[in-house]
Amino acid sequence: MLKLKSIDTEIVLRALAIAAIVFNHAHDFTHSGSFGSGGGMTILMMLSGYSFARFTLEASAIDRASAKALRFGWKLFWPSALLVMFYFVARRQFNLAELLFVSNWLSVNRISIFPVWYIQVIVQMMLGLALLFWIPWVRESFRTRPLASAVCVFLLAGATRYAFPAFVWDTAYLRHQLPHLFLWNFSLGWVIYSCLGSHQAARTPATITLALGCLLVGMLIAWSPSRSDFWLLGLAGAAFILISRVRLPAMLGRIAWLLSQATFVIFLTHRQVLATLIRFFPGSEYRPLFLFIGALAISFAVWFALEAAVRAYRSRHSELSARWLCDTFLPHAPSISRR
């Protein structure tokens, strides 16, 4: 009999989102159809917003929101910055804007092979949010009316996404890869968290309807039904709102667990792996499935090896520290008083 495992929907969606990103980029190398195969990024952004809300927007944590936003931004920034510098060295090119993580405001061309724009957008958004939550009345508003505040930010951000390129500055040439145009996507996660995630009692027909409504608004503002992003975000968002846990065959469940943990490393490495595969397997640029599976598997293996090594290091460190503690009592023994 097939053994089933109950998995948090967030974990499954995270795994699917990173797989969708790799799938999309594997197709990038071959063609660009009108429907496209994008959508992973927008799901990941929504999940990031949800996680941010969980750690930052709870009443007990809101006073530390600015610090938490900065810390989160920093944790994304430094490994990405190291990778950017690696590409500068490897490709013998330099771009100050890219090093400062602001090149998304100037051009879509980058030296780095990984999608640095996404990290740039999040880091810039974190700086903005740190400023926003520095304002006392904003914190007070989130403390006393978390759902209304989240919806308010989402609607303002949605309006910005809709109106800013149309009436103020058309940033299509930058592919709209700017923090103020992605805040709707990030704050959609806040709305979902406030509607459903903060506690079981919040999950009422009214809040579910509100979350679904905001999801639909977000989909319509940013994408059109002729784009895969629209449908992927819609399906993933609805699943996230309506289903808290899913039952998967144990093997698939384990894969989802692992992929979701590997998201960040796969994100940083998969493009390089794709480029390497194309270089070493001529003609593979016309075999997107091969590229997708190869890039996902190799990027995952990189994470897996790193993670096993890090865990081994920490485990041995903890074990040897304990022994070290035992050992050092011997030289310090005279400090033990004897009467």
Binding site: D8, E10, I11, R14, S48, S51, F52, R54, F55, E58, S60, A61, K68, R71, F72, K75, L76, S198, H199, Q200, A201, A202, R245, R254, W257, L258, S260, Q261, T263, F264, F304, A305, E307, A308, A309, R311, A312, Y313, R314, S315, R316, H317, S318, L320, S321, A322, W324, L325, C326, D327, T328, F329, L330, H332, A333, S335, I336, S337, R338, R339
Partner: protein, 579 residues
Amino acid sequence: MTLESCATVTPTHINLRALLQNHSLNVALQLGDNKTISYAQLLASADTFALALGDTRRLVFLEACPTPEIVAAYLACLIARHPVHLLPPGGGRSSDALIATYRPNLLVSGASARLDWLHGEPVALHPDLALLLSTSGTTGSPRFVKLSLQNLLSNARSIIEYLGIDSGHVTLLSLPLSYSYGLSVLNSHLLAGASLGLTDASPLSGQFWALFDRLEASSFAGVPYVFEALRQDKFQFGDHPSLRYVTQAGGKLSSEMVRHLAAAARQEGWRFFVMYGQTEASPRIAYLPPHLAESFPHCIGIAVPGGELSLLDAKGEAIAAADVEGELAYSGPNVMMGYATARGELSTDETPPLLKTGDLGRRNSEGLYYVTGRSKRIVKPFGFRISLDALEADLKEIATGIACFGDDERVVVAVPVEHRDRVEDLMAQMAGSYKLPRSTFSFMIVPELPRLDTGKPDYGALQRTYAAHQQPQERGLRERLRLAAAVLSPLPFLSQTIAEALALAGIRSASWQGIAEIYARILAVPHVSSAASFDSLAGDSLSYVQASIAIEEYLGAPPPAHWDGMTVRDLEELALKRC
């Protein structure tokens, strides 16, 4: 002190069957599938089971699953006077060790109460001995508390009196029956002719509360971590209209939490009882009358009806004055018949005239008692009581000259250098006896045990030295590099990496030894206290998925909602309860 060795059963002066038969027509048990079992039906099942047990008194070990069959088997043992020990459901190595130590004649296991005859070897049993329970700190330890039927029934009567349980009462079992608190809920409700719902659903689940509402249950019994987890989930007792009262025991609830619950009780029209007890008192010792909970949230209250609480000074004299600290002592008909650590100790009655609780306390001017701490040789990591003296005595069988000290966070064993190769054996012994995370135990190797003039170990000196060496900043750069080089030593590091990879892939089970270890390793934090939470350790969304998966692996079940705000202690208590 008479000794009865597998003699034919003689009538006892307490006829439990007759007491229960008074409620024949009442519903005794209710199940999730709308099935009900009357007292008459339950007694009939118990009679059938008693027949199978035979006339000769036997030692029975019973796996305490929350099923009608097991409740009937438990009653059969009490009625037919077969001393019974309740094992936690699921068995495991600790149950096997207990069975090896006590060699019971019969083992009742599984939800359907399957009866296995292990052997017919006679066992010397005291005529009054009815029940054997593990003390709260020694689940799986061979030390049992011996209780008589008189102990159990007198305590159940006291509970019925102060909680006001009557035959119209319904409760839903929310605690394991192998736990003295859970068993006291069963005993008191059965004796009152009330009704019990049986479920294995966790009180943190919606399923539990749906059944609670369907049964129109009037009471709920919980331990501190349950109340804290429910509060974090914004749970409202007032949403359950049939609720009449809530009881809390099994560790100290913070004053703030007591005040919060007492205020909710007042506003929503139910009563909140803070209770205090020990397995040694079958188990209830004191309760705080609900109307005093808001004003005196730190108090354990007054002795249960029929019992008496007192305070003893260092010389063992009773303290009469208010607000003077002393050791809490209790006397009453519910005080145990003593301890047993082996099969040969089941024939004696060593009922102490006064039960010294090991807790320090005071009595305020209103006559309410409150706990201020514990006698220094008793610690309670994760709420589980460990006597350092008893532990030391156990461990000295493995290595002489050791000394144990510690606090509610950690137990440390000082080992003389000549016994340093026995550390693994000592750890195995402790891990086997105490179902606590391994991170609870630490070792320090000393050249020689420091001693006082009296010859006793100088625990103060050991404690100070240990504390001084816990400061990570004392580690110099050279020592850090030496440590890093040792950590990265190629072969052991590679072997550990392969082990970690296998665990990650699910080929080998993950070897998490505690929540503190999970946080230490995933968040790279050197020292994690039991009061820390994922949130307080600056865990974030990048590490959240990893940590939640590791905790699920450790608990063997999905972590509760908002686990990230729960302390290490809360999560470990949850793990222990799930065990």
